[in-house]
Amino acid sequence: MTDTQWKVFEVFHQQARGEPHVHVGSVHAPDAEMALVLAKEQYARRQACVNLWVVPAEAIMATSYQDDDIFDKATDKSYRESWGYKTPKTISHEATEARRPEDT
């Protein structure tokens, strides 16, 4: 069946300045500006929000679930995990960033 809907835009919601934008869902819209207008009322009419992003779904390159074994750890890699440290919330986000695979 042909898709008669408008393009899909993925919506990312930011609850407060400095917080990460979190994916909350998607909207159909003919273009990005309209997607933002519609996303506001779908995803920010109840919870607090200071900023929204919309991204064309087609711009997203994703891995396949068939290949999710690429994420398996073949050997014990717990040495890569930083635990046992108490970090205030303000820097825990940076700590998460620091754990990106290319940094390990």
């Binding site: 809907q5 408008w6 909207v27 159909h28 819209a29 003919p30 500006e33 309209m34 207008v37 519609l38 506001k40 009322e41 779908q42 009419r45």
Partner: protein
């Protein structure tokens, strides 16, 4: 000079009456456009728009409630009574908001765009009102109204620049509603009193500001406003199209079954 409601008792009767008149116009416009737009719930062109338009219709009723509450504090009946127990001739809304959209999306959009543009300039002006509770309320409502205008502006531009059919339909809708839109600025006896007291600007000034705000968007959408359009007046003195009576009958139906009921 700034004024709170407490000091209103010391105001002369014409000023008090002018404030009450202004609040009725603000509240009734918002209540009726809110009801009209709520008629689209379940019928919007796509799901996302259906949700957004319905949510904004609720916003409008919220704005109405703010002004009805202020009226109540000024000795008028409570908000429920004002919304559900008044006869058509007691309403002070303009005819623009009373018009049925008859499942004409272009009309619903262009009507709401013209209303949102007017409300934006009105609320901006009232944010500086010498009547402090009114200035406070106007300031608080401006954010939602800014979004409403973003939304209707986006739709007007896209319907205007869409297909030849969408263009023809929104132009026809604009032609139909524009005389009523001018009626938003129907001069009243309150105008001069409110302007002299720095409570609200004159309607003719608001109309000029509204035209400056709306005209560029209409032009960008490729839409044309006719020359010498004659305004439809009457709403501000209780003369309404028959459509308002029908709307009120439906809107007040449940309340009227038992006005004493406790909810």
């Amino acid at each position: 000079m700034t004024r709170t409601f407490e000091t209103l008792l010391s105001l002369d009767a014409p000023t008090r009456q002018a404030i009450v008149d202004l609040l009725y116009r603000l509240a009734d416009d918002a209540m009726i456009i809110g009801h009209r737009d709520s008629e689209w719930t379940g019928l919007g062109p796509i799901l996302e728009e259906d949700i957004a338009f319905s949510s904004m219709a609720q916003d409008e009723m919220g704005h109405a409630h703010v002004f009805y509450q202020m009226l109540c504090e000024l000795g008028q009946p409570d908000p429920d009574t004002l919304a559900f127990n008044r006869k058509p001739r007691e309403w002070r809304c303009c005819s623009l908001v009373s018009l049925p959209a008859e499942r004409d999306w272009a009309l619903a959009i262009v009507r709401k765009f013209l209303y949102d543009a007017a409300e934006s300039v009105r609320l901006a002006a009232l944010s500086d009102s010498a009547l402090r509770p009114l200035a406070f309320a106007a300031t608080k409502l401006r954010g939602e109204k800014k979004y409403h205008l973003m939304h209707t502006r986006a739709w007007v531009l896209r319907l205007g620049a869409g297909t030849s059919e969408s263009r023809a339909r929104i132009q026809a809708a604009l032609d139909a509603v524009y005389p009523h839109a001018l009626g938003m600025f129907e001069p009243t006896e309150a105008d001069e009193v409110l302007a002299q007291a720095d409570i609200a600007p004159r309607e003719k000034q608001l109309r000029r500001e509204w035209e400056s705000a709306a005209a560029p968007v209409l032009a960008e959408a490729g839409l044309v406003v006719g020359d010498n359009v004659r305004p439809v007046f009457g709403g501000r003195v209780g003369r309404h199209p028959e459509a308002l009576s029908e709307l009120l009958t439906r809107m007040q139906l449940v309340y009227q079954l038992d006005p004493q009921a406790k909810w």
